[in-house]
């Protein structure tokens, strides 16, 4: 019972949504769309679990004075401020305070962290290409040519590098990427089928 019901639920919802992919049928479409919508709603409830998790974890950290506990205070306070102002304001995330926080705190922090990826990519590349294997060498050469093709905006050589870059991006890269994507889709489909068939039951305790 405890296992059968969830398995059935997974199977039935899965089959309906999958069938909608494979068959044009207005009724099916409608049912499937509401299932997708429900999934969004159900997943939103999980946020409550997430919220509790954050509170419990960080309060324990603060109480036990674990390493880095002052940061936990910052984290929890920031979270609560946003939640309180967001929930009280009928416009939610569009409310003045939350949107100010978004624009001037969250956005610059995120954008800067992403900008740091330039440095991290540099150091990762610096290490990886040094492996001096055939693989790393091929990768380095391909990367260098694409770099040159994109960077040479000024020089007359630009067009040659641009041509090479275009060829790399549209021939071997496409081949390699397709291999990866096809393979990934095999893995994805196999994983999904296993789940639908109940061979895998990640939802059952």
């Amino acid at each position: 019972m405890k296992k059968v019901i969830p398995t059935l639920v997974a199977f039935i919802t899965g089959i309906i949504v999958l069938a909608d992919f494979l068959i044009y049928n207005p009724l099916l479409d409608q049912v499937s769309n509401s299932l997708l919508n429900w999934a969004l709603l159900v997943a939103a409830f999980a946020f409550i679990v997430g919220l509790l998790n954050v509170l419990i974890v960080h309060f324990t950290r603060i109480i036990k004075r674990e390493r880095g506990w002052p940061y936990s205070i910052v984290l929890v306070l920031a979270m609560w401020l946003v939640i309180i102002f967001g929930v009280l304001d009928p416009r939610g995330p569009q409310g003045p305070i939350v949107s100010w926080v978004f624009r001037y705190v969250q956005y610059p922090l995120q954008a800067t962290l992403f900008a740091m990826l330039a440095f991290f990519a540099l150091s990762a590349g610096y290490r990886a290409f040094r492996r001096q294997t055939v693989d790393a060498t091929i990768m380095l050469v391909a990367a260098s040519l694409v770099f040159l093709g994109q960077a040479m905006l000024i020089s007359e050589w630009g067009k040659w590098f641009a041509a090479i870059k275009d060829w790399i991006l549209s021939v071997p890269t496409v081949a390699g990427m397709r291999g990866i994507l096809l393979g990934v889709s095999l893995g994805v489909i196999a994983t999904g089928l296993r789940l639908l068939l109940g061979m895998d039951k990640p939802y059952a305790d």
């Binding site: 962290l113 992403f114 540099l122 994109q150 960077a151 000024i154 641009a162 496409v174």
Partner: protein
């Protein structure tokens, strides 16, 4: 190239340890490598089965095994001593360890986990046939026989140890079946259980599933080509375990015929030793006894110890490491051997036991030995864990970072002149994009999807601006929509800046956020009203805006421009909307998506592509009004070049870390 015997990785010539798994590549003297034993005296490679070197006659295999308990007690290897001394900071750690040892026997755990074990297990089937083939009776047997005879005469005392002697040899040749990890011989289990806390054995028993039991190996070329098809050929000849076994048992039979015969006869009785009896003996008395034996044994086995020593002669390549660590490293190498010893005991013991009347005692000792040894080794390992060798000193790349930072910053600060217009020809996909927009009749409704997260805005804004500017210049009626909750605000901001003055609802309308991603897009594909009910800025129904008059389905837009920062969103648009009849898609994406979208451009699903800042600069160039992006471009170009140079320089001239 040197190929790692454990994982098969190709390593640079001269490497001492495998880059992948850390296994020793340079064979230790007297230690086997790929079925061969290197002579400690002359360095010649001998078939593993040789007891003496075929070149110089030096002994390759110890006559007597090293009594393992000697390692910790006598301490010929410095690391063990050190391990004992490490106490100060590690105390709690050691305590924990002890606890674990007591409770659940981490040594066992280690054995179960040790990646070496599955590898060993896998490779056993691989190499033996070579060995077995080479074993042929030609050189060895007679010498061996005589030697053995001598040994036995001389060392009747130590005969007991001798049974454990050929540790490296045994696992390969004699005991394939359970080196594979298939099953332990029943006696072993029986012995092990009472000695270690029985409940804690459980995990061990449960753990095995982690290792697919009879996994065999096949490889694609990993980093580099492997020695072509060695394994395959091997498989060809000796595919199954079962086939190895009989053959494997042959050599010993030939060498020591009497033993074996006896062994076979006596086997059954030993397998069920009365537990009560030996339990008495197990504990301390035995240990003391062994201690007593130690000294003489030591004297007798210098060659063996010599063979073991290489542990200490650590490659000079790693001077900064602490000796303990080295020891630990070595230990890995040894441990493999040791494990062999331990496992071999059971099997070897079986033939030998008959020679000694006390049937039950022998295996017990071994088991104790085993646990003791492991204990010793685990004790010695913690220090090395404190400073794992992987910790390459928490590298900082601040110099690299500084260079890149300056490369990006300086052109911005000094306001480097914008790039000369029209120098290199724009890529065709950018020109196509331009032509598509250029070809739109004035007042065409165009849908622009702002599908990037705010963190990509820095780049995407540079891509979006020239496109929106062009649309505005063409007099198109632009509606924006977003699959990302934050998209509408970004869109609004950019449009406000570009357009200056416009009539909202007539020239521009913000349709807001479509939740549900794919599902939302599918709804959008079936009808706009399904996905979007209210407009974003004023929250009014869509019909109330002049721009939206006559637009019901996706194909009513003359063009759909996707501004995407993630591959998934662009794929959704192509799949869900692009497949509808009459819909024209063009994409302006992050540079990182270029390889993703190129196939769709080539297949005609996308009518034009702009990827990243460099191409956006081209677009501005085509527009003839270089401004925003173009002021970006020099810094971009310089930073990219510098990054490339740094990577190349690091790769070509860089030495160690």
């Amino acid at each position: 190239m040197i190929y790692c015997p454990i994982c098969g990785t190709a390593n640079r010539d001269g490497s001492k340890f495998c880059n992948e798994c850390g296994a020793r590549l340079v064979p230790q003297e007297g230690v086997h490598e790929k079925g061969h034993t290197k002579c400690p005296m002359c360095g010649a490679l001998n078939p593993e089965s040789n007891e003496v070197c075929s070149q110089c006659g030096a002994r390759l295999k110890p006559l007597v095994s090293i009594p393992p308990e000697e390692l910790p007690l006598e301490g010929p290897a410095p690391f063990i001593k050190e391990a004992g001394e490490v106490k100060p900071e590690e105390e709690d750690f050691l305590a924990r360890l002890r606890e674990t040892v007591g409770e659940e026997g981490p040594p066992e755990a280690e054995e179960v986990f040790s990646p070496a074990t599955p590898e060993e297990a896998r490779q056993v089937p691989v190499f033996p046939e070579e060995i077995i083939k080479e074993i042929p009776e030609e050189e060895i047997p007679d010498i061996l026989a005589s030697l053995r005879a001598k040994v036995r005469e001389e060392e009747a005392l130590f005969a007991e140890e001798e049974e454990e002697a050929p540790p490296e040899e045994m696992p390969r040749v004699e005991i394939p079946s359970w080196v594979t990890g298939e099953e332990r011989p029943p006696e072993e289990k029986a012995e092990a259980a009472p000695e270690e806390a029985p409940e804690e054995e459980k995990p061990e028993v449960k753990a095995p599933p982690e290792k697919p039991p009879e996994v065999e190996v096949f490889r694609w070329p990993e980093e580099e080509e492997k020695p072509a098809f060695a394994e395959e050929e091997i498989f060809k000849e000796l595919p199954a375990w079962e086939e190895i076994k009989p053959e494997a048992e042959m050599p010993p039979e030939e060498e020591l015929p009497e033993w074996l015969k006896e062994a076979e006869e006596v086997k059954p009785p030993e397998e069920a030793p009365p537990p009560a009896e030996w339990l008495k003996e197990v504990e301390l008395p035995w240990l003391e006894e062994e201690k007593g034996v130690e000294a003489p044994v030591m004297a007798e086995i210098p060659p063996w110890l010599e063979a073991l020593r290489p542990l200490e002669e650590v490659p000079p390549a790693a001077p900064p490491r602490r000796p303990i660590e080295e020891a630990e490293k070595e230990e890995e190498g040894i441990l493999a051997g040791l494990k062999g010893v331990l496992k071999a005991q059971g099997a070897v013991a079986i033939p030998e036991r008959p020679a000694f009347s006390e049937v039950a005692e022998v295996p017990i000792k071994k088991d104790l030995l085993q646990s003791f040894l492991k204990l010793a080794y685990t004790r010695s390992s913690p220090p090395s864990i404190k400073v794992p060798s992987r910790r390459r000193g928490r590298r900082r790349y601040w110099l690299l970072y500084l260079v890149l930072f300056l490369a990006a910053l300086v052109p911005l600060v000094v306001k480097w002149p914008p790039m000369p217009v029209g120098s290199p020809p724009s890529p065709p996909e950018v020109r196509d994009f331009f032509e598509v927009v250029e070809g739109l009749p004035s007042h065409s409704p165009v849908l622009v999807a702002f599908d990037y997260e705010p963190y990509m805005a820095g780049e995407m804004e540079a891509v979006a601006r020239p496109v929106l500017t062009h649309l505005k210049n063409r007099g198109c009626k632009v509606a924006v929509i977003s699959l990302v909750p934050t998209g509408p605000a970004l869109a609004q901001g950019i449009w406000d800046e570009i357009a200056g003055s416009y009539s909202y609802g007539e020239d521009f309308v913000n349709l807001g956020y479509v939740p549900g991603r794919e599902a939302g897009l599918r709804a959008l594909a079936s009808g706009l009203g399904e996905a979007v009910k209210y407009e974003y800025v004023e929250g009014k129904p869509l019909d109330s805006f002049p721009l939206m008059q006559g637009i019901n389905k996706a194909s009513d837009w003359r063009l759909v421009v996707i501004l995407a920062g993630e591959p998934s969103t662009i794929l959704w648009w192509i799949e869900q909307v692009g497949s509808l009849p009459g819909v024209r898609l063009a994409a302006a994406v992050s540079a990182g998506l270029k390889p993703y979208v190129m196939p769709y451009y080539q297949s005609g699903q996308l009518e034009g592509v702009i990827a990243g800042v460099p191409e956006a600069a081209h677009y501005e160039d085509l527009l003839g009004s270089p401004s925003y992006v173009t002021s970006f471009a020099p810094a971009q170009a310089l930073a990219v070049l510098i990054a490339l140079l740094v990577i190349l320089a690091g790769n070509l001239f860089g030495g160690g870390g």
